[in-house]
């Protein structure tokens, strides 16, 4: 029993010496591809907005300062 305890303590101590290196998981390109796919689907679907009446509007900044009361 005593031997087992010593062995266990040694094993636990040794475990601290190991270093496991894990490569970072790269998810950004996948997310980007999915977003592009969704954006393309939306652009295709709403293509009529570019040709439809009253659709010719110019895009500007998306950071407006004035808040509605």
């Amino acid at each position: 029993m005593k031997r087992m305890m010593i062995l266990l303590v040694l094993l636990v101590s040794a475990a601290g010496c190991f270093r496991v290196k894990v490569d970072p998981v790269e998810v950004k390109p996948i997310t980007l591809n999915v977003n592009l796919k969704v954006d393309r689907q939306l652009d295709d679907f709403f293509a009529f907005e570019k040709t439809g009446a009253g659709a010719a509007t110019t895009a500007t900044s998306t950071q407006p300062p004035a808040a509605v009361k």
């Binding site: 999915v34 977003n35 796919k37 969704v38 954006d39 689907q41 939306l42 652009d43 679907f45 709403f46 009529f48 907005e49 439809g52 009446a53 009253g54 659709a55 509007t57 110019t58 895009a59 500007t60 900044s61 998306t62 950071q63 407006p64 300062p65 004035a66 808040a67 509605v68």
Partner: protein, 132 residues
């Protein structure tokens, strides 16, 4: 061909057939939705231009002030538009393998970008801001 093989083949053909029919039905539904959006487009743009409706960060339209919903036409257009958007987001999510909320968020970003100056946009903090 054994009975078992024939049965398996029949089941496979049926599954493929059902899948094909479902795809055709979804494509048809998208066409219907596009027609509905296109038919409503000018009216929605007009309401946005006068500041009664605006795009939200959730990918839907909303009344800039609650009082505007007292106008039955505004309420009707908004309700119909949002119901169709919800269905469209579900369909596109299924096609692209993302959630409907993801599609809605992409559409919100798209609408914010292409909105002309003067239109109201509801940001994630819940505040309506006029685009400059």
């Amino acid at each position: 061909m054994t009975n078992k093989t024939q049965r398996l083949t029949s089941v496979a053909v049926m599954v493929l057939g059902i899948g094909l029919l479902a795809s055709i039905a979804e494509a048809g539904r998208k066409e219907e939705l596009r027609d509905k959006f296109a038919g409503r487009y000018a009216a929605i743009q007009e309401l946005k231009a006068v500041g009664k409706l605006g795009e939200t960060f959730l990918g839907y339209v909303d009344a800039v002030k609650p009082d505007y919903l007292n106008d039955a036409n505004v309420k009707k257009l908004m309700t119909e538009e949002n119901a169709d958007r919800s269905e469209l987001y579900r369909l596109l999510a299924k096609e692209t393998g993302v959630t409907p909320e993801d599609v809605a968020a992409r559409n919100a970003a798209r609408n914010f970008t292409k909105a002309p100056a003067g239109e109201y946009l509801k940001h994630a903090d819940g505040v309506w801001r006029k685009k400059g």
